[in-house]
Symmetry: D2
Subunit: 317 residues, 4 copies
């Protein structure tokens, strides 16, 4: 980015269609590499050779390449949506129950939970998402429907669903999550029954969305908390900024430092192979490719984001 | 920040003198609170009631308030300077010897070193700075003089010195650092004698600089790696961006997440009570007040940075 | 113990009745001190001022003092019984699924489980007992009845029961155990459903036995694995010796070193306030007093064992 | 051991010469296996195919097989001698500065030191031995000479020396120990300069003794603290018993549970390949073979001890 040019001008000028096409070409060799998440059958059967990417700008344009319209299991990306809802429900008191520091270890580690008496390090690791889910469950009797409604409104797509088969499989394979939730409960940092918290959590992970859906749905975080269509406030500008900060420091498991270093954008990844990134005041990006690196992030997806910031100069640093 | 306005315009328009005066007023009650670092006599005798702040913009202006011209012990802030030198000396190979992830625990923890076989989590914790010091020592026979020269050039101030009494006291009190360095050496991740590495490290910590010095000295990181006066490259734009990313994720001990969340700027703090922050493509900020919070960051200094981003809207998120 | 005198002679000669009376007198001031386990109502309502102690010798004599005939919740002491059954069921293969080293941390820590991939450090911590329970469940369709039958036979008392109210309360409060079991299951080191393992585990903890019952029931471990009445083998001499070794190194949570140091006998404690100790080739001791020290062992009970070995000279060291 | 027979009778009757010969035969295939400690040249050059074993009984007899008269570097076995001296110097106050619990992790781990604020878990790990060395250094100006005198008197051999070349090599390779000692010093749990503590520690490790020396030198621990020749007290019976308890729970690094389980005797091992074990009220055993297992204990030595207790029935359990 030329410092003499502001971001809005740059976005207006930039040929994102050509950029996405070029990136798809450049990362082609990585697509199909890495390991597709196999702990539940439904995820394991996703073809490894998929790649899609979408960009949505604040001025309403959308660009795409490859499988950008194919819905996939967003998994941990959903933690950004639930964090938004929990912040609206509980306000700053949420931070009494969950921290804001990077975890510095594997995404489902129990160690830090024990050292820190059941206060998860941040809301974007599994343990933190359980607390966030618990907060939402305490604030509304229709938590699951509310979340679905929120996501559909953000993405402007009524066809978005939660995949019940994925949710059921998560439950059957979710011993680690059951361990975490029971552990947090033992420190009295969950108010709702463990089964209910896990059921909600597994359903949020089972949201099926495409890159196009995700790029659109995250635009409020690039737009100081406002809906890019109506201009109405989804969340305060302050909170939008802070969610972006959390994504940057904690959004990609134990590779957050590496992501900030290479990509330089707030981002959230999921084991379904999706990653969403935000360029504040400018645009959102979503990428999907199912093969994961050893830290659980999409291999081709991370490379694509890296190329995007290199080609466009768009980075927060 | 109004999204329709670019940062350069904003900086040109903003009344930083008034902003700094207002901040000094607002944080006045915090000045003198917290604990002054007392592990070495020279630091312990610094009066707790000091507060200074400076802003330096890319267009060459400098603003200040309070004790902004008083030199203090920059301590860990020096890690950004040595990282810059080590990156120039070794290039990307540096990352084989030190990681880029937040440490997720106290800044001088030995635990993670053990788990990760002597590879420090990042170059901005003490262990990482030892490796960085070792790299510099292997690259030049005049490491200490080179560092001093580099810092004087960046700050445009030939009067900057290293306080020998502080360096000697650090050595006498530095059992934790000696433990770290010996531990890293046991994993063969130091090439130079432990005593030499520590001697260099204790001297870098003993650099005496004022807020004005620091704000000027960090401008290359706000300016894509270029000197703001000569326009010459200090470090590549890519590396400048990446050092900023490291400061954001790892620059303030175990409060990096909190800093990103509240302040939203790359920053590096030291136990002398200084903190430097960078607004990419715009300006740098340095603040100093000796009283520390329980995580080792300046109490009034952190509050002042918080107020600065709140008042100006300048944040990377 | 006089080295010229053998243990059998000593036991025959010693006035255990007087010794127990003296001990009860000496520890009187400690009875009622410490904290009664309060995580389930049934345990919390046990009067703190109880103290009982019993000695059973290989030649068939039994001595007692105080509340030695009062049944109490044996809790973790049951782990010795289930270990015996699991060793009979699976033999040495048991040690592929659970270790034999002291845990060096709190009795229900999840940290080591994670570091050691779901292999609990030893069978006398909660995690290890879950694996032991799983082994028994896989070996018999009537695990709970078999355990009860085994304990009744060992103690020669058909009146021994499992307290269903305690078992139900354990389940309702057992989030930490549920976390542990789910965590082990996530490493595939449990074959049976988590709920079934926990149900069996909570029932074994709910066994109600008196000091007299426990002293009698442990005699096979003092008698090289043989029943002291019939002479028939309960377990091989080799295994009896090894269970004793495990009790010494791992039987009293994170105080095993302290117990070996002060008492010098293999012992197993429970949060119900009971402790059983073994003098190989000589006798068993059981003591009960509900007030616990900060490591979860009976305060007056530990002191009573300490006095017993001091007064009699009976120690394995 | 037949329970009707006392230990003294058994020892008097047993043909230890034949037993040792048989054991040497049985473990022959293991001799030369494992890895010889190679971190210092002097240790690395010891031929791997050595095996020696000695038994010393309280009634003054000594039995041997193989290389039982060859001096070797006793390394960590020396910790038992220094613990004895420190207990005499400081009494029970020693336990304010070092714990008595198994460490549950690798013998030179820094993790637990950090968690427990510089109080080593027990005196038989390296960190604990540093504190013990510090206590001795504070109690006498001739610590090294006193230790040598003590060991020569116990072994009744004036020819025992400390190998200066080994001590010097330990110092040159001892980064891990330097890390530990500096770390403990940072918690103010060392009073003497780190260099002095390490110098003494490296010299104690460099004691050269044979199996015959060690078996004789440990007899006071089998004899309730008394010299087997003069009958004079070396240490109180209480302390002798407690040192034995510490050896059982902490004497063989992270294999103490395994040793108690398989061998069932208090024992202390060293990376030089030696292991000494105590049968209280009966005898001592020393074995040496340089090849180590993955936990740092002599491979053939551990097997030989295992066979000894299996063949003789001598075990404390």
């Amino acid at each position: 980015m030329n410092p003499e040019e502001n971001t809005a001008d740059l976005v207006a000028r930039f040929d994102f269609a050509a950029t996405l096409a070029r990136i798809a070409e450049e990362v082609r060799d990585l697509v199909g590499q890495g390991k597709v998440a196999a702990y539940i059958p439904r995820l394991a059967e996703v073809p490894a050779d998929r790649f899609g990417m979408a960009v949505a700008t604040l001025d309403g344009r959308v660009f795409e390449v490859g499988d950008a319209a194919t819905p996939f299991s967003i998994q941990s990306i959903s933690k950004v949506f639930t964090l938004t809802l929990a912040l609206e429900a509980l306000g700053g008191d949420l931070w009494k129950r969950v921290g804001r520091e990077p975890s510095g270890s594997a995404f489902n580690s129990l160690v830090q939970l024990e050292r820190e008496s059941g206060i998860p390090r941040n809301p974007l690791i599994n343990a933190g998402a359980h607390v966030v889910a618990d907060v939402i469950l305490s604030s509304t009797p229709t938590a699951q429907a509310d979340l679905l409604e929120f996501v559909r409104a953000r993405a402007d797509n009524r066809a978005i669903v939660m995949d019940e088969e994925v949710a059921a499989s998560e439950r059957d394979a979710g011993f680690r999550n059951a361990a975490l939730a029971n552990f947090i409960r033992s420190f009295r940092n969950l108010d709702n029954p463990v089964e209910r918290v896990l059921d909600f959590y597994f359903h949020q992970c089972a949201l099926q969305m495409s890159c196009l859906d995700l790029a659109r749905a995250f635009l409020y975080l690039a737009n100081r908390g406002r809906c890019q269509r109506s201009g109405q406030s989804v969340i305060s500008a302050e909170r939008a900024k802070r969610i972006n900060a959390l994504m940057l420091t904690c959004g990609t498991y134990d590779a957050a430092g590496e992501f900030a270093f290479r990509v330089g954008l707030p981002a959230k990844s999921g084991v379904g192979g999706g990653i969403v990134a935000v360029v504040p005041n400018a645009l959102t990006l979503a990428v999907w490719s199912p093969g994961l690196d050893e830290k659980g992030n999409s291999l081709a997806g991370a490379a694509a984001l890296d190329r995007f910031t290199a080609l466009t100069g768009l980075s927060i640093f």
